[in-house]
């Protein structure tokens, strides 16, 4: 019985540490420049793979990611688990009811957004299969169906991230986009499962050997899981919550179901990710699934397991050697034109103005996770050649990169201000000298006035006047004095700490030890910052954390990542 020897185990952990560490670093850098973190995770994999590291430091590459021995199997295992768990969380986020609840706009965007790129991709691939990178001997019809599907599928996690960063997620447009993306993902995966089913017989051998069999099994699986399965899960979850250890019982149930679903779809002749995705949808639909449970899963999966998968994409082939400019440009062109026209036209028909419709098209055009997963499966199945895979990955990266800046340019929506954006170490007073409310406000106003070259007396007059009308003490040792100052060009948050505490007439009678003075020139900024403060400090623990911050850094940590 073959086992991992100590050297294999060492290599495994070294490889996983390198993949995860580099992926997270690149993801954070991408995040800093306002791009989805998945782009960083994929790019860093290309860097660590044969394209760069393998080319310039072949020995180091071979030591970290050996292509012989048990290591390829080890990496396959980890990345397969990573992508299956990732599809589980993607499924958990899909809300079937919200798709149906959306009106005409969402339906038109969904259907056109799938149909146009599908037809464009199908036509291009069917007409020029060889140029488009069909593997020699691959069935042209199946290949064309695959390309159509790969270009029409969406990338819900990437799109949701972009909308969230642009503060568009909770708008009407955002809801239309998200519903349409969910619909496109669902349709795309079902289409792809048929492509896979047509391509190679099921794994079960004698039981299911034909395409027909695969399609019947998949339809049964989707149909039963989303109706009877969904109903059963909704009945079982409260029983588990009532009668098993919390949260172990529920987590065990969710992961066991996911693994079983993955095994079944793989048996049926399509890929394990599909089973995890459909079961994720069925589980996520239950009103009894706690938000906290799905959040725990989401956190560990998206931050630890999914990066293994995304970073491993670049390990598969040499992206430089297999880069074909013409093919890549064609794929990008067909994909963008199909999606922008389809989704955009759908949005126009649904009644949106030209700019909004274009923004919808651009959002739906962002690819990422899903195309690439399809691409890997098609590559493994011998349907596409390496340079088509590279073209698909580059297309996914390019459309995702394009999306956020282009939408931002079109919509020019203000980001909601947060305290974290505004606080500054120059405006942090670690120890307020005063012991009275007015004395403390004067100290803070002096710091503020210096920062904006304003007269401290004027600021103090306005702030203290407002304080007189409405005391600014919140509960648990926090005070948030605030005022609108005409002519202030940027919002200021001055933070002072008092070890003994100062009476700000808080409802709970406690003295305030942390005073956050918010001064803004306009009402919108004030509204944003006060809203952020009241959300941040809605739990006592979060206030405690901010109040007990011993340095400016710890204060920023409390504002960026509050205890919840």
């Amino acid at each position: 019985m073959p086992h991992l020897n100590p050297h294999d185990v060492m290599t495994m952990f070294a490889a996983l540490a390198t993949l995860l560490g580099c992926a997270k670093l690149a993801a954070e850098l991408m995040h800093k420049i306002g791009q989805p973190s998945i782009l960083g995770e994929i790019s860093v994999g290309i860097f660590l793979g044969p394209t760069v590291l393998g080319h310039y430091r072949p020995h180091l590459y071979e030591a970290l990611f050996p292509t012989t021995g048990p290591m390829p199997i080890v990496l396959d295992t980890v990345t397969t688990l990573g992508v299956v768990f990732f599809l589980l969380t993607a499924g958990l986020e899909i809300d079937l009811r919200s798709i149906f609840r959306q009106g005409k706009s969402a339906l038109l965007v969904s259907v056109f957004g799938v149909a146009f790129p599908f037809v464009a991709g199908f036509a291009a691939a069917g007409t020029f299969p060889n140029y488009m990178g069909a593997e020699a001997g691959a069935d042209t019809l199946i290949f064309a169906l695959f390309v159509g599907t790969a270009l029409s599928i969406s990338a819900l996690p990437v799109i949701a991230k972009i909308l969230m960063d642009l503060n568009l997620l909770r708008t009407e447009m955002g809801t239309v986009i998200i519903s349409s993306a969910m619909f496109d993902d669902l349709v795309g995966w079902i289409l792809f499962s048929f492509v896979l089913g047509m391509m190679h017989p099921a794994a079960g051998g004698s039981l299911a050997t034909s395409t027909k069999h695969t399609i019947v099994l998949v339809l049964l699986f989707v149909g039963l899981t989303l109706t009877l399965g969904r109903w059963l899960i909704d009945k079982i979850l409260p029983v588990l919550q009532a009668h098993t250890t919390w949260p172990g019982g529920v987590l065990g149930f969710i992961f066991t179901l996911t693994l079983a679903g993955a095994a079944f779809t793989e048996y049926a002749g399509i890929h394990a990710v599909f089973g995890a995705f459909i079961l994720g949808i069925a589980i996520g639909e239950s009103g009894h699934l706690r938000k906290r449970t799905s959040e725990s899963i989401h956190q560990i999966v998206t931050n630890v397991f999914a990066p293994f998968f995304f970073a491993s994409i670049g390990l598969r082939i040499n992206f430089a050697a297999n880069f074909h400019l013409g093919l890549t440009a064609t794929v990008i062109g067909v994909a963008c034109v199909g999606k922008l026209l389809g989704a955009g036209w759908g949005a126009r028909l649904g009644g949106m103005d030209r700019n909004s419709a274009l923004a919808v098209g651009l959002a739906m055009n962002a690819r990422g996770a899903m195309e690439i997963i399809l691409g890997i499966l098609a590559l493994q199945a011998g349907l596409i050649r390496d340079h088509m895979f590279v073209a698909l990955v580059v297309m996914a990266l390019f459309t995702s990169l394009l999306s956020a800046p282009a939408i931002h340019f079109l919509i020019r929506r203000r980001r909601t201000l947060t305290l974290k954006d505004v606080v500054a170490s120059k405006l942090f007073l670690p120890s307020v000298a005063a012991t009275t409310r007015l004395g403390a406000l004067r100290e803070l106003c002096e710091i503020a006035a210096e920062a904006v070259s304003n007269a401290p007396d004027r600021l103090f007059r306005i702030v203290s006047e407002r304080e007189r009308v409405l005391a600014s003490g919140w509960e648990n040792g926090l005070a948030v004095p605030h005022a609108r100052i005409n002519g202030l060009t940027r919002p200021l948050v001055v933070v002072g700490k008092s070890a003994e505490g100062i009476d700000f007439d808080a409802r709970d009678g406690k003295p305030s030890k942390l005073i956050m003075m918010i001064l803004t020139g306009d009402n919108q900024s004030q509204h944003d910052l006060l809203g952020d403060a009241s959300e941040l400090f809605s739990h006592k623990e979060a206030v405690d954390q901010a109040v007990s911050a011993n340095s400016f850094l710890e204060l920023v940590a409390a504002l960026n990542a509050p205890v919840q």
Copy 2:
């Protein structure tokens, strides 16, 4: 480059789903009968392995867990990750400061609790190496050191679980036990790392080929990680919390460090789990690690990844064929006598009475995770024979099984009552007819009176009298009337729901829609139940969940697994 084909992927998911599903089911059953869940996970693995399933249904066994092809590597990968992550969470729970803060008792229990079983095991194994299951050709000194270590190490997670179930964790005795167990684990692992280092040269080849080298590397690793590393981690965590995405940055950092530590210790010539354990300690020491972060990790790891490992133990060998009664009895005898005498005597010297000292010995005697991990490594390294491994696993199961009932018998400490234990569907009134406070109380009292064959008028008089003195409305639609009823032999919690709500004079002025009437015969039960209620309902979300429960089942779910 070898890869997993679709059939391998299907087998992998089927095997993992079977392992996880059965392990969780068995764990929950064990929990129901008051035993640590790890016993269920290990037993179910023995059932699924060659001992039972492989013996009676060899074809099914071979289909699920093939011993040829890539599957053994796949299982090795998943279980190695599982045990490494499990040791990370074990390390996170260790609190170095609390070990040092404990006084004489803990020191005596720790040192005697390690020394006695170590000497006993060392002597037995050194004198009768062959009988004790040394592999042919194994160095007797190394073997004896191993047996001594395996018998002296503790099992912190199992012990903590037992104390928690017996409501002893927060007592002085509990603190002494936990501190001593932490100390024993730390010492045991360091001892074992030396045993491994002496046994076979490091994996690094030319760089570290000798035992001396391994020991130097391990000492450097432990020393640097627990001093400089700990300090650095404590500095870096707030920076990550302030400047990276939350919680992705922190999670990525923790897991990358863990994987890198695992790779390093494997390189140094000892096992990856040791690196994860030491890094877990260093990370857990930081005051900046959020409880929420370690909880997320703990939940997913202990409930999903660790069960893969514990269930896989039984897959390794045939426990029936390799069971040797004499050896097993000897190992159990030496282990129990050494630990009970050592830890118990330490506790007596530290000033405990005889019963408490014996309870300390019994708690420290509970084995589980750690012995077995050592056993697997020793088996893989060719140090012990199969029947010694079986003896170690049986010893771990036996001592854990013995522990809880024996301590319970000695200490006879009441378990704290919880609402979940006391509510009953017969005492649940889904719709209170009355619209007044007294009317509602009368209805609930009638149900209570029927359940205990008491006079409803008497109950009502006492409850309404108490209500007159102190209104029982809590916030957010909850009312908790309570009274002590002389002669009541068991506590009663009668729950009524009112759709419109009834005025119970709550502080927030809201009408109460959920009325939980607590009647007890003694003060302690009342104290327990009111304490449970005030802890359960400290967050508005948790109250909302209970108030909106539509059935008795959903009410139990809210009490068992509150939103936090």
